[in-house]
Amino acid sequence: MASALASVALSTTFARAVPLPENSMRIGAEKKHDNPLFKGKAFRRVSMAVSVNVSRFEGVTMAPPDPILGVSEAFRADTNDLKLNLGVGAYRTEELQPYVLNVVKKAEKLMLERGENKEYLPIEGLAAFNKVTAELLFGADNSVIQEGRVATIQGLSGTGSLRLAAAFIHRYFPDAKALISSPTWGNHKNIFNDARVPWSEYRYYDPRTVGLDFDGMVADIKAAPDGSFVLLHGCAHNPTGIDPTPEQWEKIADVIQEKNHIPFFDVAYQGFASGSLDADAYSVRLFVRRGFELLVAQSYSKNLGLYAERIGAINVVCSSSDAGTRVKSQLKRLARPMYSNPPVHGARIVANVVGDPNLFNEWKQEMELMAGRIKNVRQRLYENLSEKDKSGKDWSFVLKQIGMFSYTGLHKAQSDHMTDKWHIYMTKDGRISLAGLSLSKCEYLADAIIDSFHNVD
């Protein structure tokens, strides 16, 4: 019926005011709206039919909700008092409130007092930010910085920085593949897909040990075509929380070197994982020390709590400053048709905090507090699980894993059970965000995990 009407409407020319048949699906066109905007005879309200009745977007299907961000939506809709949101990785205080860092508030007040303008940033972003972000990551005295070999572009947090890099890979390395860990952050695949970079997975998580499948990882990286881009989580692997040891990092570097692969780090938790900025940059600095050209995407969402400001950077370490200059110019060429230039607010906050010794120290302290709270929560959860679970299952992975997330080992049905019965919101891959957990709720969570693990197949 609808398509018949549509074809009638389509064949109708617009020149005549042809009344449509009864039961027409037109919306709005027949109503006489007294729109005060349209006065005078130069223009009259058009109440006749528009030639196409059916939307040209009629065939657009409903997209599924984002698996991670959709969790918060579902949580908000839940009215149960016991509900717990362990979905998205956003830090919460012990009172389960969002947290704006004190240094951030101070920086914003300073910025307002100074009365800075809101002019367009250059395409590559705020120069002061680009400088401090590279220094923070590599160390200010690192040779790559001294020699001007790093191309740094301010990006839209981690996602935007990854996307710029992926677009760059697509344009300049059209035959190259990206290798991503299995599992990895859900959005990594989407980013490479939309940038049209083919990808394949390397083994990472070992469900038997709830640890790293190191041999599988090395074997898969070795088996990939030479010159692939290997996506590595700099620290606090998302979603598993499982990081390679320093010895393992060296061996990973060996195989990457052997295959002429290009390391591509995603650093979203520098300072947030262990509490130490330098310690969390260990893996990146190791690869730099070994002479690799590499890419690093950074985010200040978690470590400075600047989630919604969208502040991050893409860094490309090149073998020469000339290459760095050229690479930077091409990254700009990709950013311009995407959003022209990046937002200034978050960049200024970072530049102010990192650039001022007092604020920088204060930041380090706040970061230690945040990382410390998560470690405490891990400890409490582990204790609760071990005490309450009589099966003898080894829950120590909760302590060994690092960062905001824990990979519980629960599968989809079990994760669904956590939500359906216990009103605990998490992603379906079994990942929980410890940042959303308070000490007082650890016991409840332990009960839920034990129940889901043992009683759901």
Partner: protein
């Protein structure tokens, strides 16, 4: 598979050579090595660009990109030490003193936000700040727009105008059956790049008539009438960039009739609402005409100029659909475009806009400050026109006061522009566009001198 094996073979000698080269202090680049070529003479000569990162660079093939033509003007301006230099390049408003301007009402909004303990920095939804979206739709379509009241509009916060155009373009490339977009000739330099990278194929329609320095209306209609059914048409809602030439309301009506009869899909770029005439409602007329006929359209809104929020990157993409059901589905698909691009948009600028738009008194203050900016630009137009007349500069310069918005398409050619930059330190884009917002009463005489010299000495 064959390629991978080949790369594995090439990689080995490449690495050894690379190591050797490093020890010898030789700059080795696998791509240029003749040794490599002879080693595999019968096979593909060019080694993988990602091979041999030791001693060479994987980025060997990456060439230096030229500066962006528009933003590059400011780069060049900044390098010039001359005290009389004038920057008429990028469209950013300047005060009479030549300074950037942060609106008073914007500062007030920021103060409120900083002092509000409930204002946190949690991730926005993928579609952005809900209040901002609703208020933006009302601003552009009118609060009583039937499309809004019938829930047929989906609005998503994006990164200013550019981001809105890009997200809209990507959505159309994925979900619209016709992938050609017609853009006016000339148009903002970034338009073709945005749409090409979004996955659309770009064609042009006649717009500017250099002989009249006005609208080539006849050819515009001819070109659009030849467009295939469903083709997308980019329209500047007001204050066309770079020409400043807008259709009259009558002409807009004819454009609308043509677009609707041909089943074309209009995509409005609205970067100057309120900035062009000084009146928010008047500057939205063209869009509202299209929405009023019940048809579908896309609109990219920017708050860069009209709220002076340039660097905050605040804008919105609205898609007006035939039904509320379609709008819901369209929104869900827009989220799939946004999530792998930047996940969710930045909060600061959108919060400022929402704070202002929802408060009656702040909204009013905004309209006053906005009108003041628009009026100053109109004054500059008049002053420049008068200055050229006083100098007896050859030619008809009435287009300076006829054109509308931030820019004037002077009609000066490339050589004349180069001359003006070199001899008079006037910085502008090579297409002859000048940003009136960058002029002041003090600098108008200097510009008039420059134009006079260019026109009389260079043809």
């Amino acid at each position: 598979m064959g390629d991978a094996n080949l790369r594995a073979e090439l990689g080995s000698p490449g690495r050894r050579l690379g190591t050797l080269a490093r020890h010898l202090g030789v700059d080795y680049s696998p791509a240029s090595s003749s040794l490599m070529a002879s080693h595999n003479a019968s096979e593909i000569v060019t080694p993988s660009p990602t091979a041999g990162s030791y001693g060479g660079s994987v980025f060997t093939n990456v060439v230096q990109a030229p500066e962006d033509p528009i933003l590059g003007v400011t780069v060049a301006y900044n390098k010039d030490p001359s005290p009389v230099k004038v920057n008429l390049g990028v469209g950013a408003y300047r005060t009479e003193e030549g300074k950037p301007l942060v609106l008073n009402v914007v500062r007030r909004a920021e103060q409120l936000l900083v002092n509000d303990p409930s204002h946190v920095k949690e991730y926005l939804p993928i579609t952005g700040l809900a209040d901002f979206n609703k208020l933006s739709a009302k601003l552009i379509f009118g609060a009583d727009s039937p499309a809004i009241q019938e829930n047929r509009v989906t609005t998503v916060q994006c990164l200013s105008g550019t981001g809105s155009l890009r997200v809209g373009g990507e959505f159309l490339a994925r979900h619209h059956h016709e992938h050609t977009i017609y853009i006016p000739q000339p148009t903002w330099g970034n338009h073709p790049k945005v749409f090409t990278l979004a996955g659309l194929s770009v064609k042009t329609y006649h717009y500017y008539d250099p002989t009249t320095r006005g609208l080539n209306f006849k050819s515009l209609l001819e070109d659009l009438s030849k467009a295939p059914r469903g083709a997308i048409v980019l329209l500047h809602a007001c204050a066309h960039n770079p020409t400043g030439v807008d259709p009259t309301l009558d002409q807009w009506e004819q454009i609308r009739l043509l677009i609707r009869s041909k089943g074309l899909l209009p995509f409005f770029d609205s970067a100057y609402q309120g900035f062009a005439s000084g009146n928010l409602e008047a500057d939205a007329q063209s869009i509202r005409m299209f929405v009023a006929d019940g048809g579908e359209c896309l609109t990219a809104q920017s708050y860069a100029k009209n709220m002076g929020l340039y660097g905050e990157r605040v804008g919105a993409l609205s898609i007006v659909c035939k039904s509320a059901d379609v709008a819901v589905r369209v929104e869900s698909q827009l989220k799939l475009v946004i999530r792998p691009m930047y996940s969710n948009p930045p909060i600061h600028g959108a919060s400022i806009v929402a704070t202002i738009l929802k408060d009656r008194e702040m909204y009013h203050e905004w309209t006053v400050e906005l009108k003041a900016m628009a009026d100053r630009i109109i004054r500059m137009r008049q002053q420049l026109f008068d200055a050229l007349r006083t100098r007896g500069t050859p030619g008809d310069w009435s287009h300076i006061i006829k054109q509308i918005g931030m820019f004037t398409f002077t009609g000066l050619n490339r050589e004349q522009v180069t001359f003006m930059t070199k001899e008079y330190h006037i910085y502008m884009t090579s297409d002859g566009r000048i940003s009136m917002a960058g002029l002041s009463s003090k600098t108008v005489p200097h510009l008039a001198d420059a134009i006079h010299a260019a026109v009389t000495r260079i043809k």
